[in-house]
């Protein structure tokens, strides 16, 4: 008998049907993958299981009997717990305090509001050693890596004997080694007989962990079955409703003049050492490397966020003094950051404001803003990028991840930048939107832009980039031509750099 069985779950929010036909069944000791693009209904289905959202119709069987959960605490009492994607931890409190946050009373002496740190710490230590997490119960959460935080979230979820754990994209912000750690934990939990539902966007991690898989598309169950019986391409096809090859399709051009040249750049603070790199017109230069290899730091240094200690940056053959993002923007450089909500978008402002943000001068007429022109220009850019929005006055924060990314790119298009630094441009956006982002990058290259694309998705680099620069521990460890294999990239990302060939 399955641990959990969902049949024909439906849920409407107002006039929108979020879930038309959700089906999924997971057994004890099984990892069930849940795939689907953003908006496919994954979260709604899982929130239904976790008691956050009530279903309109359909059946949920828990150990064979029908249940209807109205609150998360009901779900928790039955043994269902959800590990959040975005860390919902209190950074200033310790690991132990976070694990027991809101449940201090269960630790015994916690009655009457009294919190005994030592008791909590020792309870936490028991739990941590039981599962073999590399965590110090007394260290503040703010000092932990994203993977460490994820582990604290897992501890929170399992500390009172759950039998079903739901992971919502646990690895989306983790490095490869950290991801491997999370995998080990998941496998361990599975070996202990827990049922696990695992939501992910990363296609390359499926096989490492999954037993069964369900794909949702537009609120319906597009596929459900054993993972071993279906190929990855077929899964993607179920997710997006089109062929995989079309996603990365792009014509490769002969690169033109050098637009950006970095010579022997060093930044002590972020441990960048002797970076040399050229970006040419019409070329997409991919950049691979492990998290912490210095790729983001390099983008920040070129963009003037961190000031280099030595080295030169040349724009169109002339030395450029870039001391601040402002200088970089004036030099025609654009940075699409990996965390668009933190540094890319003003979420509470309209799309139009965001589009013109880096070039308000362009809509200024004798000191006053031409709001009609702003609206016209952002509508036009929106149309060109197939942005799904009601109007330029819609708030940016109400858009989906992929559409937010398009607004960020539109901002730099409106600025008429010619050098684009994309840092993990497809993080957290679904495959359909990814294809559109690649299409845009291709169009930019065709129109003469030079593009640097930092990515942790090797498949992306392999298909989209004209060549791939690999970084390792603050240095460039090698350059690979188009069509190189993922193994070659990994090798350079992990191995000691050779003495020669460090210039890219």
């Amino acid at each position: 008998m399955p641990l959990l069985e969902l049949t024909n779950i439906q849920k409407r929010f107002g006039g929108v049907t979020a879930l038309r036909d959700g089906n999924l069944s997971v057994s004890a000791g099984e990892v069930h993958l849940l795939l689907g693009e953003n908006g496919a209904g994954k979260s709604t289905l899982m929130k239904n299981v976790a008691g956050i959202v009530e279903r309109d119709s359909g059946r949920m069987l828990w150990n064979g009997s029908e249940v209807f959960l109205r609150t998360p605490s009901q779900a928790a009492a039955m043994g269902i717990a959800m590990v959040n994607q975005e860390s919902l931890l209190a950074p200033h409190l310790s690991v132990a305090e976070n694990i027991f946050l809101g449940r201090e009373d269960r630790t015994g002496p916690g009655r009457f509001g009294w919190v005994d740190r030592r008791v909590i710490a020792s309870k936490a230590r028991d739990l941590i050693t039981q599962y073999g997490f590399p965590l110090d119960p007394e260290s503040p959460v703010s000092r932990l890596s994203p993977a460490g935080r994820q582990m604290v979230e897992i501890c929170r979820a399992i500390h009172h004997g759950s039998s079903l754990l739901i992971f919502d994209e646990p690895t989306s912000s983790l490095s490869d080694t950290e991801t491997e750690q999370v995998f080990r934990i998941v496998r361990d939990l599975k070996a202990r007989g827990m049922g696990i539902i695992y939501i992910t966007h990363r296609m390359n991690e499926l096989r490492a962990i999954g037993d069964a898989v369900t794909v949702l598309r537009d609120g319906e169950t597009a596929h459900t079955g054993r993972l071993a019986e279906i190929g990855t391409d077929r899964l993607i096809q179920h997710m997006v409703g089109r062929e995989v090859a079309q996603i990365y399709e792009r014509e490769h051009l002969e690169p033109g003049e050098v637009l950006l040249e970095v010579r022997d750049l060093c930044v002590q603070r972020s441990n960048l050492q002797g970076i040399s790199l050229t970006l040419r017109r019409g070329e997409i230069t991919g950049m691979a490397g492990l998290i912490g290899a210095g790729r983001t730091e390099l983008c920040r240094a070129i963009f003037g966020v961190d000031t280099p200690d030595s080295g030169e940056v040349m724009v169109q053959g002339k030395p450029a003094r870039i001391r601040s993002p402002r200088d970089a923007v004036s030099a025609g450089i654009a940075l699409v950051t990996e965390d668009r909500q933190i540094s890319g978008l003003a979420l509470r402002l309209p799309i139009g404001y965001n589009v013109t943000l880096a070039n308000v001068e362009r809509i200024s007429r004798m000191g006053f803003l031409d709001l009609k022109e702003e609206s016209r220009a952002s509508s036009e850019l929106g149309k060109r990028m197939s942005l799904k929005s009601s109007s330029p006055s819609q708030l940016a924060g109400t858009l989906s991840g992929g559409n937010q990314q398009k607004v960020v790119i539109a901002k730099w298009l409106f600025r008429q930048s010619s050098i684009f630094l994309f840092d993990e441009p497809t993080r957290g956006i679904d495959i359909g939107a990814k294809a559109e982002v690649f299409e845009l990058m291709g169009e930019l290259a065709r129109n003469g832009a030079a593009i640097l694309m930092v990515s942790s998705e090797l498949t992306e680099l392999q298909h989209v980039a004209d060549r791939v620069v690999v970084m390792r521990q603050g240095r460039i460890s090698g350059v690979l031509p188009r069509g190189c294999s993922q193994e070659q990239m990994m090798k350079l990302a992990v191995m000691e750099p050779t003495m020669t060939g460090s210039a890219a």
Binding site: A328, L345, A346, L357, E361, L369, L371, T398
Partner: protein
Amino acid sequence: MSRKLQKFLPFLSLIILFVALSVASPYFLTANNLASVARQTAVFNTMALGMTIVIITGGIDLSVGSILGLAGLGGAMALEAGYPVVIGVLVGVLIGTGCGFLNGLLITRLGIPPFVVTLGTLGVYRGVALIVSNGLPVHKIPAGFSFIGEGNLLGIPVVLWMLVICAVAVHVILEHTRLGRYAFAIGSNRVAAIYAGIPVNFHITAVYAIGGALSGLAGMIEASRLMTGQPTAGQGYELQAIAAVVIGGGSLNGGEGSVVGTLIGAFIMGLLSNGADLLNISNYWQQVIIGSVIILAVTLDEIRKRRAA
């Protein structure tokens, strides 16, 4: 309640309050009373306009009451020294601008939160006013100066004309100029603003200077109404100004706020206080009522925003 209705709730409340007071008191709807409401609220209103831009950038200026005091005093001293009214007003506005500019510099150069910087300068500016004046008010002001606070132009109080001009100017700055646009951007996402190449520090400083200038002007209005330069004038006014912005839909998290909203907020507070006077409600109760209205207004606004999200 429909969303549209909720958005216009502050305006609706103002109208309802207006109608209710007209019915409740025969004295309310008289030219004299309305002119006095305009005069009483002009000081807060002018300050609140500046506070609106500051709050939109995600900042706050707690020192505006002290700026009002110092600027009013300085302007009055200029008048006492025999300078014409125009120069006196200009002196007040310039002192206000300077104080605001200094706030902006401290915030951007030292990287200290606006709350802390202006909490400090709240004490500093007040202290300077007391030191300069030796704690004594400046009285010997030419009679013509009262025209600003008490005079009429085409049958309408001069302060109302000034308020309208300032309000239009601030509205235009916010909605139709780069400075206003940058204020929204900085308040909504400062990092994104920096990454977009916006000279953030420059614009933050400019915003505090404008806020200071309007507080300086408010100081001259206050001085004209009292016909004295009081070093202690304006104590606690900063809270009234902040309240007006917040009732009018401004968010202390930045990125939100409007001139129309702030004016409505300030007039709601002005009418409440005027109505309470007319209906013989004690001063003590007025504080309770106004305080409750602030909480109620912000609660309703939060509910509206949460639904819209």
